[in-house]
Symmetry: C2
Subunit: 601 residues, 2 copies
């Protein structure tokens, strides 16, 4: 872990940005012009993008020729656009500081991807949505082309996209193309939100100056406001000083710490002070779950009672990158009043009730860490929290239960594994068990779109391979996987080797917990799960392996099998479970939802 | 076929509409109040809807309880929302005068369906998109719920939907619910476009007066403007009178004749006058293709030369319900100038260059038919066009070619079959062969979203079963079916028995014709096609049958097999074909596209 972030880096980012603006104003032709399509690819390569997800369509084929010709960037070629958007999202999540890119075609393709893009917005994942659109001449004449709404409204799709993207860039001529592309990418990476960029067929090969490319885009935030930051630091130090010793200051980490690239900064803060650390569900694995001063997941009333007591008894909570959504807060049951809380965000800091705009955590936290060290464990006695551990329950029956499953698979995980949890029983189940150090937990608790995890796993597996991480392991349900199942095919095609656990419990279990316990609408079709990989691409059976386990013993034997655990090829495991069995956290969440009449009538 | 439409029907519609408006103003509580959810279902049943497509999600489960309790309306339960929207679209297309309904949940569900809804807009298919949304209290407080964008923008999704639906209804209280629901449904059915209706969880069971339900909604257009209609009739009669005899007046039918419920009227016009009839591709089967005065498909320069000569030599073209999109007009190569054309639309008529708003075809055509009979074949000699026939080409090779395939399968079709063509080689191939009387050809030439046909087939098969039509037969490609393949599972689940032909030609052939003839991005993964149905739900193999044919002989033997042709269970036929083989119409279309530099750079 690196220590402090030198202010020079932010200044350099500002310098680069100003240089770009100057060049944009000059707009002179240089000696080495570049095609707009290749300009985009050059920028993506600078941002270390190695894969583009998407589906070919007649308005993006020209751009795809450039992608295909580029040895440094790969084309994934998904089975459909929603899956592609999910994959780009997963790629960005696991890469942490890189963006995901999804390429679609005008109308039919881009609209299919919209739910995936909206999910990236909701969960702050930087995804670039590139759309191939008809030529500028066709757009001007409002030609009645296929993929149009038949009424000449060529702006309808970008208008729709504006609701779920942070910015939109419409390339309409060569002159402004470079500036438009850069603006869109900078917004995407600095705000960690999806952005929309359309490129018309006739401009993909139009040449523009390449000079701008000399200044790389930076995802550094602008420098903090010096005076405001000083005030914030002083206030926080006072609050820490005033707090009585022994466990009275705790750190609560959440997902935005990772989205805004402050993972190392928050870990540094924790290690140098020794303050006890807890995580919100979405912030799981931001701090390694085997860290000796880490106490587990705080999720309001759903929390383990010890965790709940410790967090809520603290005099001061340093809350880093929090997202206070229903599922992330135990249905809004946080008992940590603002008067006891400092909230660190990407672009502001909130000290108790006071908001300080322009003071972002990435630069603030290292300075704070230095100032807080005197109050840390080296000078004060600070009790470490009870470690986050689970034990395998003893159950007489061989039936695989939710209570047994999650502690059991937690023994299977290894450092550096990438663990993807579908919204539903998988997500709620995995919250309750600790994951190994350097593992990455990927879930979508805020957006919560079922089917996301399968597409996400494709992108996550690419990123894991590129970053030399461990295995990619997906937990999903028989209901959820049906939405996006074809993407297993892309995993086979690209030689990725995730382990896919399919919890077969006869339908939408999370919905049953919410409403319709016995309702037919929560039933689904049972599939022949173990033949899925073969049917969807491994036709000679050499590239995959599938298993069906019905008992604790069968699952344990499989998990202990070295060849299985080595994950040398893609593997699917159907875990036969009982309908109406749900993990603890989901049961509590559902009960609270009903008590509050959220779904009542 | 019925003859004339009495003006009383439109007046009755107007009366009903006014009565509703009155009731809405009164808004008094009646003695038999009804839950808003059941009010919606009552309206849908009045519109003869028998199936609702969609996916359960936590904000629509309360409404689903009502659906499940209603014996007259079925819940399909699709594998994902895009497929559900496609299915609702197919259901409406084959029912012709009924709407399709798709139910999704807030955010994640509704956005996933958007491409399907947009396609229904583009192709003028009346689909109601019902969305279950959070309670009005949660919306007001901007609660940070799952499925939100995390920033309190509860209106983001309806704003996006507004770009692809004809109207949006947001139920916010019981008082206006009935009027809102009726307004949305009337727009949907009279304009034949998709409409959006959201219902918050807390209002599904809120009671409202049921009196409005006594007045059924009507999809009749308002009465034509009497004076304008008179002028139109006189002008057309003059034009017909002036045209020299013998084939100098032709009728060209297109898709809007069906969408706006004028199929019988246009057939009446054709039969009572004896004018030669041709169809645009999207209007295929509006007039039976074995009708003795029907000459086939007019598609500009792509047309059969005889058809092209006949249509373009006509002195007057009565063009009914035309959509002049690229793929429907041979890439805009219609050679029928406005000066020779009368265009009949749902809400206006265009006589040569003059537009007459407020004169719709549904009421106009029967009156015109009566006035044109004196100029018809009973009094003048009118040569029937050369019948639309194809012959099986003789080819030495046993390879199944596009040139051979379509004439061969045309021998397999029977009256009342519903034939669904995926955008791509299937669509272009089927354009060129005649279909039997009373068959229904379903394609999506304007929107052209690959994957649509599979979802559509599910809805089409439901509608065909309800209407007691013949077999539902899908033609799709190995690339296209991958986008939406899971919906085969719903077909198995509901005991539907379509015949699914999968043309396996190693990738996106239509894209190869446009660009990337040898490009890797047009490749796809090969699947084990014949195990798809089993894997996706027919686990004991009793409910489906699959075949793989590689030669002309194998396919012919299968098509001639009575058990196969009887379609007693769902069947999938993989047809092995060569890459780079495309049907005639697609080859010409692609060449013209390149000539015009539409995709060029």
């Amino acid at each position: 872990m690196t220590s402090e972030m030198p202010p020079a880096a932010s200044l350099q980012a500002e310098v680069n940005r100003l240089r770009l603006e100057l060049q944009s104003l000059r707009a002179t032709q240089t000696e080495e012009p570049i095609e707009i399509g290749n300009y985009i690819l050059a920028r993506l390569k600078q941002l270390n993008v190695k894969q583009i997800f998407g589906v070919p369509g007649d308005f993006n084929l020209g751009f795809l020729d450039l992608v295909e010709a580029d040895p440094a960037i790969g084309w994934v070629g998904n089975c459909n656009e929603l899956n592609a958007a999910y994959a780009a999202d997963g790629y960005a999540r696991v890469n942490e500081t890189r963006i995901g890119v999804v390429l679609t075609t005008f109308g039919v393709g881009e609209l299919s991807a919209m739910n995936g893009i909206a999910g990236a917005f909701s969960e702050m994942v930087p995804v670039l949505h590139l759309v191939g659109v008809p030529s500028t001449a066709q757009q001007r004449s409002k030609a009645l082309l296929h993929h149009t709404l038949g009424d000449g409204r060529y702006d309808a799709y970008v208008k729709a996209a504006a609701n779920v993207t942070i910015t939109q860039g419409i390339i309409v001529d060569a002159e402004n193309a470079g500036a438009t592309i850069d603006r869109v990418l900078i917004e995407c990476i600095t705000k960690a939100r999806p952005a929309y960029l359309s490129i018309p067929t006739n401009l993909v090969y139009a040449k523009i100056p390449s000079e701008r490319l000399e200044n790389p885009l930076s995802h550094n935030q602008p420098p903090n406001d010096v005076e405001a930051e000083k005030a914030v630091l002083e206030e926080i130090v006072q609050l820490v000083d005033r707090a009585s010793a022994n466990d009275s200051v705790v750190i609560l980490v959440d997902v935005c710490a990772v989205r805004h690239d402050a993972r190392s900064e928050v870990n540094e803060l924790a290690r140098n002070t020794g303050f006890p650390v807890y995580a919100a569900p979405m912030g799981k694995t931001v701090v390694p779950e085997d860290y000796e001063r880490y106490g587990g997941i705080y999720i309001g009333s759903i929390s383990d009672p010890t965790v709940k007591a410790k967090v809520e008894a603290a005099e001061l909570i340093l809350s880093v990158g929090c997202v206070k959504s229903d599922f992330n807060t135990g249905n809004f049951t946080y008992s940590i009043p603002a008067s006891k809380t400092v909230e660190f965000h990407s672009d502001q800091t909130k000290v108790r009730h006071a908001v300080f705009p322009g003071v972002g955590m990435k630069q603030l936290i290292p300075r704070l860490t230095a100032m807080l060290e005197p109050f840390g464990y080296k000078n004060r006695e600070i009790t470490a929290p009870q470690p986050f551990r689970v034990f395998l329950p003893h159950e007489d029956s061989e039936t695989i239960t939710q209570d047994w499953l999650w502690p059991r698979v937690s023994q299977f995980f290894r450092p550096k594994d990438v663990i993807v949890a579908e919204t539903g029983t998988s997500n709620f189940g995995l919250i309750d068990v600790p994951l190994p150090s350097s593992s990455i937990f990927v879930s979508q608790l805020l957006w919560g779109s079922i089917g996301w995890a399968t597409g996400c796993t494709l992108g996550a597996a690419f990123a894991a391979r590129e970053r030399d991480l461990g295995r990619t392991i997906l937990f999903t349900g028989d209901g959820s996987i049906q939405l996006t199942v074809q993407e297993l095919s892309s995993m086979v095609r690209h030689g990725l080797t995730p382990i896919v656990f399919v919890l077969n419990n006869n339908g939408y279990e999370i919905e049953r917990c919410i409403r319709g316990w016995e309702a037919g609408y929560n039933d689904i079709m049972n599939w022949e799960w173990t033949s899925l990989l073969r049917t969807l691409g491994d036709v000679d059976g050499s590239r995959s392996k599938s298993y069906r386990v019905r008992t604790k013993k069968e699952l344990s034997v499989l998990l202990d099998d070295e060849a299985f655990a080595a994950a040398g090829k893609i593997q699917l495991v159907e875990i036969v479970m009982r309908m109406h069995d749900a993990p603890r956290a989901l049961r509590v969440q559902a009960e609270m939802g009903q008590e509050e009449n959220v779904y009542g009538y």
